[in-house]
């Protein structure tokens, strides 16, 4: 008995000591990083304080100090992003940009947000619009407002708080070799042709349309046809005007109906529930699957999976038989500067550098957020040769977000359910939840 007590005591003490060590280590760590950020920011504060008084907003040569840049692009931190930072530091001697790649980016940043410890430059994590000024610094003085896409996406009361890091165009991505094998000479120009081509591909033993259904997020692009039919990108936000936003003969029903028809005819993966994005990339590259409706950024994924750039086609999705086309542009994570940054001048200069000078878009086959940037990728020029009417996706409005969160609306799952379920039933249940959540949110106000 006595022995166990001693043992227990020793263990408790041991654990206590261990924990104490751990916590003190954490403390020293925290204080180290705190002083780390305090020191440069102190010097930065003085330089930042000095430069506006000395030469107004134009303080290019006085840029000094250190900033931290948190990014979600973890796979590029030690390679390309390092290259851009080196170029920036070479251009402005005496500056230092610390890159921090965060694996679980959004969660990590949200925690820091609550603790008021945002890094100087970061990828903007969405808040309610009214909260934007609390966390982020307006970027209007960069002089980019009129040159960029999606300037309204992260804006509040006329001020821009985030600049998208790239623009994505959604289109029908296809493997030219797979088309050839099925005897298809040109990509489909009408919806009927799309279905006919799907039949030919199926006959040739190729999966006509890949979706990566299991991973769910890949389904989100399929709401684009609904917005094409609706005529503008306000479809999701306009839901607030009605209690029954989802109707079979409305934009949602018709738009999602394209995917549903493909599913019903067996044109998607054989077992959609086990189709993942990892596997889909490989299948598209190898020609086991032929098409996918997704953003242009996926082109580089196919290239890295071994498909030659010449064999990749990218065209607008024919959503009807009219022969006119629309293309959806979506924004990506946006560059933002923390409202609490101690060195806003430098942080803003870095954002400007990343957008205008880094060459990021060319390196990664993506589309620059700058409207005037000439696109060199043939896939994009091919896409544009169809003269599609380009539409800019909109931010989800605050009241719609409130209702959607209340009803726990998962847009990916919604598309999945419509695809495999009975459309009328799925819409009915979502309409019911929507109306109830809308009423309860309205009551809460």
């Amino acid at each position: 008995m006595k022995k166990t007590i001693t043992l227990g005591l020793t263990m408790t003490l041991g654990a206590g000591l261990l924990a104490a060590c751990g916590s003190s280590e954490n403390n020293s760590d925290a204080s180290a990083s705190a002083s780390d950020s305090a020191q440069p920011s102190a010097s930065a504060g003085s330089s930042a304080g000095a430069s506006p008084s000395a030469s107004g907003a134009d303080g290019g040569s006085q840029l000094k100090g250190t900033i931290t840049w948190a990014t979600h692009r973890t796979e590029l931190v030690d390679t390309d992003l390092k290259k851009y930072v080196d170029a920036f530091e070479a251009k402005y001697p005496g500056t230092e940009v610390k890159i921090e790649g965060l694996k679980d980016y959004e969660q990590t940043i949200r925690v820091r947000m609550a603790a008021d410890e945002l890094p100087d430059v970061l990828s903007l994590v969405e808040t309610t619009k009214a909260d934007l000024p609390k966390f982020y610094e307006p970027l209007d003085d960069l002089g980019l407002d009129d040159d960029i896409y999606f300037k309204d996406f992260n804006a509040y009361q006329g001020k821009v708080y985030g600049i998208t890091q790239q623009v994505a165009i959604n289109g029908l991505l296809y493997n030219k070799k797979a088309f050839e094998k099925a005897g298809i000479a040109a990509p489909p120009k009408t919806l009927d042709e799309l279905f006919a081509d799907a039949d030919k591909l199926k006959a040739a033993g190729i999966v006509p349309m890949a979706t990566a259904f299991k991973d769910a997020w890949t389904m989100q692009y399929w709401t684009d046809p609904a917005e094409f039919i609706y005529g503008n990108t306000g479809l999701r936000n306009d839901k607030i005007k009605t209690d029954t936003p989802f109707t079979v003969d409305g934009a949602y029903g018709q738009g999602l109906g394209i995917l549903k028809q493909l599913f019903d005819k067996g044109d998607l993966e054989k077992d959609v529930y086990s189709a993942t994005w990892d596997q889909t990339q490989k299948d598209l590259a190898s020609g086991k699957a032929a098409m996918m409706y997704i953003g242009n950024w996926a082109i580089s994924n196919l290239v890295s999976n071994g498909l030659s750039l010449d064999d990749i086609g990218f065209v607008p999705l024919p959503y009807d038989n009219s022969g006119t086309y629309k293309g959806m542009m979506r924004n990506d994570w946006a560059y933002a500067v923390s409202a609490n940054s101690k060195n806003k001048e430098l942080a803003k200069a870095f954002v400007k550098f990343m957008i205008e000078e880094s060459g990021d878009y060319a390196d990664h086959m993506i589309i620059s957020p700058l409207k005037d940037q000439k696109q060199s990728l043939t896939q994009i020029t091919d896409f544009m040769s169809y003269n599609p009417q380009m539409m800019e996706a909109q931010a989800v409005s605050e009241d719609v977000t409130a209702v959607e969160n209340k009803m726990q609306f998962d847009p990916f799952k919604f598309v999945q359910e419509v695809t495999v379920g009975k459309m009328q039933d799925v819409f009915d249940s979502y309409n019911k939840k929507w109306a109830a959540a809308k009423a309860s949110v309205a009551k809460g106000k």
């Binding site: 005591l9 408790t12 609390k134 086990s274 969160n405 999945q416 379920g421």
Partner: protein, 295 residues
């Protein structure tokens, strides 16, 4: 100064000093978060904005009114069913391996091995086994001509929870077995022998002598199993992420998405408290049943 203290005072001082660090740690890392959770469950909070507003019981009302949450909770009971089976199987293997069997140590190691494996590794392994097109199980089924059995295991709303339940059984059966084995070895061999001499068959000896001697351990194993199954999270999160279409959501995966996907921390906290209450209720029933059976 210590010289002025009486022996009693010195002793108390020492006790307080020794307890200070562990108690402070306990308060900081267990009690404070627990009370904060209760506090949050009465609030409306999106997880990042500085303001939290009082919501009263609204969060709890919503938890109880939301049918999807309780549908997800019903999936937990599929795991519970497999968990009970897992206990029976663990006990069976423990009884088998407690005899003088050849190579029993090797069997023990093999059966316990899955428990040592990392949960994520197990998830990836079974992701391969149960993949409908490339998986080893379906390849085997096709190979022996049972084509109609080779279904999409993670894609079928009917089967997905059972598949996940089976994987939990595979992973945790070894732990149950080892605990049972230790308990069986602590049953005094004299009383078993005495029973055998009195003419009890092997089955009778097990049923009437051995099992009543290890009820405490059976209770412990059930306790662990119930908590584990009602709070199952990692496997469905990693393997199916609640899919297909929510068929494998569990109470905890729903709680996680309520908090981190729908930014409703108040309701997520209320869900956590509800889960604790539910676990207490189920454990209460289990204790009640095992007590009666033990007497």
């Amino acid at each position: 100064m210590p010289g002025n203290l009486s022996y009693r005072q010195q002793k108390n001082l020492l006790i307080v000093l020794f307890l200070l660090v562990p108690l402070a740690l306990l308060a900081m890392f267990s009690l404070y978060p627990a009370f904060y959770l209760i506090y949050l469950s009465f609030m409306t909070w999106d997880g990042f904005s500085p303001e939290k507003t009082w919501a009263g019981l609204a969060n709890y009302k919503e938890v109880f009114h939301n049918r999807e949450i309780w549908a997800a909770f019903s999936h937990n009971f599929v795991y519970l069913g497999w968990g009970l089976f897992q206990n029976a199987l663990g006990l069976l293997f423990a009884l088998l391996l407690n005899s003088r069997m050849k190579g029993r140590n090797a069997y023990r190691v093999v059966l316990f091995m899955p428990y040592i494996m990392n949960g994520v590794a197990v998830a990836y392994m079974f992701n391969y086994v149960f993949n409908s097109e490339y998986g080893s199980l379906n390849t085997l089924l096709h190979g022996v001509g049972l084509d109609s059995w080779a279904i999409s295991w993670f894609g079928s709303p009917k089967f997905v929870n059972h598949v996940l339940g089976f994987i939990t059984l595979w992973k945790f059966m070894g732990l149950n077995m080892v605990i049972y084995l230790a308990a069986l070895q602590s049953v005094p061999s004299e009383i078993v022998e005495a029973a055998r001499i009195d003419g009890a068959s092997r089955a009778q000896a097990i049923l009437h002598v051995i099992l009543p001697n290890i009820t405490k351990v059976i209770e412990l194993n059930l306790f662990l199993t119930i908590i584990g199954t009602l709070e199952i999270f990692d496997l469905p999160f990693l393997l199916t992420d609640g899919g297909p279409l929510g068929a494998s959501e569990t109470f905890l995966t729903m709680t996680m998405s309520t908090a981190f996907k729908f930014n409703n921390f108040g309701m997520a906290s209320a869900m956590s408290i509800t889960l604790i209450a539910a676990v207490i209720v189920v454990l209460g029933i289990q204790r009640f049943v095992t007590r009666r059976w033990g007497e």
